[in-house]
């Protein structure tokens, strides 16, 4: 990041404890992390290491016990419930492992929903939704219901919903779920493309192959960041070397 860039996501010395006393579980213990525009950061770690907690805090779905989370410079703790809901509709996109598509709405309606909830006119919201569906390779399936789509197509709809409009921060939790490796790769390709176009991305995964799509990979163990990879050099630098 250059000096003029504000980190899209800024997590500062965040702790998250569930419960109190001897039964307390320390999900995160002093985690700091920034993600800039055009940067995709992967968080790797085993189950229970705090990955999903970190993602929930980044998107304002949960609040830290201590420490601070900022999205585009805005401290989330300063937002009331309404402000947080607005942030989630406008600036943050989520891609979950379970897709959370509404079965009674078509693909276009699912994708347009956050925009409509946010006050965008129906016609305009649906036009934006169709554009987002085209971006994920589903230009002709917008009028189908989720159960008329394959697993991979449903996941693409969920991604379109996460990317529709001007989302500056995209949060993905094991976004390839149970998809086969080709379809999973296509999902990451879409995420990567959106980040290359200027969004900031945080990808939680336990698969190294998926984390390989990130610019930087951080490793979480028992709620603590244990190490991370430095940002990458250029493709040209790599080609001049010999593999590893």
């Amino acid at each position: 990041m250059t000096g003029s860039d504000v980190a899209v996501l800024d997590v500062r010395d965040v702790h998250r404890t569930h419960g109190t006393g001897p039964a307390a579980v320390h999900a995160l213990r002093g985690v700091s992390l920034t993600v800039g525009p055009g940067e995709l950061v992967a968080v790797m770690g085993p189950s229970g290491s705090g990955k999903s907690t970190l993602l929930a805090l980044a998107g304002g779905l949960d609040s830290p016990t201590a420490g601070e989370v900022r999205v585009e410079g805005q401290p989330l703790a300063a937002l009331d419930r309404r402000g947080l809901a607005q942030l989630r509709r406008r600036r943050v996109g989520y891609i979950f492992q379970n897709l959370n598509l509404l079965g009674s709405l078509t693909a276009v309606e699912n994708v347009a929903l956050p925009l409509e909830l946010d006050g965008t006119g129906v016609r305009r919201a649906r036009a934006m939704a169709r554009a987002a569906l085209a971006e994920v390779g589903l230009p002709d399936l917008g009028d189908r219901f989720p159960d008329q789509l394959s697993g991979g197509q449903q996941q693409r709809v969920a991604i379109a919903r996460a990317l529709v409009g001007e989302r500056r921060l995209v949060l993905a939790d094991e976004p390839t779920g149970a998809l086969d490796s080709q379809t999973g790769e296509a999902v990451l390709h879409l995420l990567r493309r959106r980040v290359d176009a200027g969004a900031a991305g945080l990808l939680v995964t336990h698969e190294a192959r998926h984390a390989g799509w990130a610019d930087r990979v951080v490793f979480l163990r028992d709620g603590v960041l244990v190490d991370s990879t430095a940002p990458l050099g250029s493709v040209e630098q790599l080609l001049s070397g010999s593999g590893r």
Partner: protein, 198 residues
């Protein structure tokens, strides 16, 4: 894998001279395996000695093309039909290094694991970036070579994760006169101990 069979496979496409073979070899392995021209000519002369290729008259430009023989084709077909044996692959320096780190006094094994994992992860990121940059249909052979390296790197990261988890539970046997059975017994109670401390 031998350069031998690589060159035979290339000659099966048609006759070529040394520099063409080197370029085609590097192209089909996506430059992950650079060859020097000396290796190409040494291999060609051995292949010719064994009757698997034959050299043709020099061109006016002084280039001598080679072509594959029937014996060469049979050898190539056998190579494609035979699975690669794991024992033919080079010894895995990393696993040996970790095994030694564990038994060498004063080595911070966790740090060895973490340093390696960050490096392997970085290689994986680089490979993925190369893949992302080569999405034309004609890039498929190169992408598959990259995929092979991606899956190997992924396996290594998983193994390193496994090592790290195992290290959490590991306590080296205490020095001193202890029977092997006693030291095993002491280790067995440690995981629970570790859990209790968390």
């Amino acid at each position: 894998m031998s350069i031998r069979h690589g060159l035979l496979a290339l000659l099966e496409r048609g006759q070529m001279y040394g520099y063409q073979l080197r370029a085609a070899f590097e192209e089909s392995t996506g430059s992950t395996w650079p060859l020097n021209i000396g290796q190409v000519y040494t291999t060609l002369s051995r292949l010719e000695r064994d009757g698997l290729v034959r050299s043709l008259p020099e061109s006016e430009a002084g280039q001598r093309p080679y072509e594959i023989t029937d014996a060469g084709r049979a050898d190539l077909a056998l190579w494609f039909a035979t699975p690669v044996s794991r024992t033919d692959r080079p010894r895995d320096e990393l696993s040996i290094k970790l095994a030694l780190a564990l038994t060498t006094p004063g080595v911070d094994v966790r740090s060895v694991v973490q340093t390696q994992r960050a490096a392997t992860m970085r290689a994986l990121q680089e490979l993925t970036r190369l893949k992302y940059a080569s999405d034309r249909p004609e890039d498929l052979p190169w992408r598959l070579v990259l995929d092979a390296m991606v899956f190997q790197a992924e396996a290594e990261v998983r193994w390193l994760d496994h090592c790290e988890t195992s290290l959490v539970r590991y306590r080296p046997p205490a020095p001193g006169p202890q029977s092997p059975d006693a030291s095993r017994g002491a280790e067995a109670v440690l995981p629970a101990d570790e859990e209790a401390r968390r």
